[in-house]
Amino acid sequence: MPTLHIVRQNAFTSDDFKQCLQVTRINDIIVFIDDGCYNLSHTLIKTIDSKANISLNIIGKHAQARGIAIDEILYNTINMNDLVQLTLKTSRVITWQ
């Protein structure tokens, strides 16, 4: 029963992504959208437990608009249709904004 976390704010400016990580559980899915894309540069992202099997995704065009390079080994680049499908496949969604 994974939860979909839509992260729209970045941790340099706001507390939202930190709060997201406080409630993230094993097998949960995180999608960075809008200013959430900036979190790829934040140290907080390195605190995610690699054993927790958290899926990290980012909307490609949101990152491109912001000039953010995506490390394809760490992050899945997805599109808006993927996000819609994730909404339906997971058990609940929470938007961190």
Partner: protein, 123 residues
């Protein structure tokens, strides 16, 4: 109401009480769910925990103190109220709240409680 009346809704409160409308907007939703006899749980995390702090008085800043309405939660059968222990600790706050029956939870429990809900809104 329509089908699925057992659906569980949670609201996560993440903002301090006065400088913006988030806390009041969240409360309005909670009370509507309560008055429609729909289950609603309230979570307080981050700066949202300031909403529960004892000894606040909005009259000092000409604000209609919506926090006093929290006392009506019982009347509306809003009984699931959870607070993030980490957020309290970070702010050096104690467990003295202006309402009763608030459950203070560690991150893992807080996350588990949140995950029993089908709908989650956050303000």
């Amino acid at each position: 109401m329509t089908q699925n009346s057992k659906k569980l809704t949670a609201i996560v409160n993440s903002k301090a009480p006065y400088s913006n409308t988030a806390g009041k907007d969240s409360l309005d939703i909670a009370l509507i769910f309560g008055s429609f006899e729909q289950p609603i749980s309230l979570f307080f995390q981050g700066d949202g925990v300031w909403q529960l702090l004892q000894g606040q008085d909005g009259s000092n800043i000409s604000v209609k103190d919506y926090l006093k309405t929290f006392a009506a939660f019982e009347f509306y059968d809003i009984e699931n109220i959870y607070v993030c222990q980490d957020s309290l600790t970070e702010r050096n706050l104690t467990h003295y709240f202006h309402i009763d029956d608030v459950a203070v939870l560690e991150n893992k429990e807080f996350a588990e409680k949140l995950a029993i809900h089908q709908t989650i809104l956050r303000f």
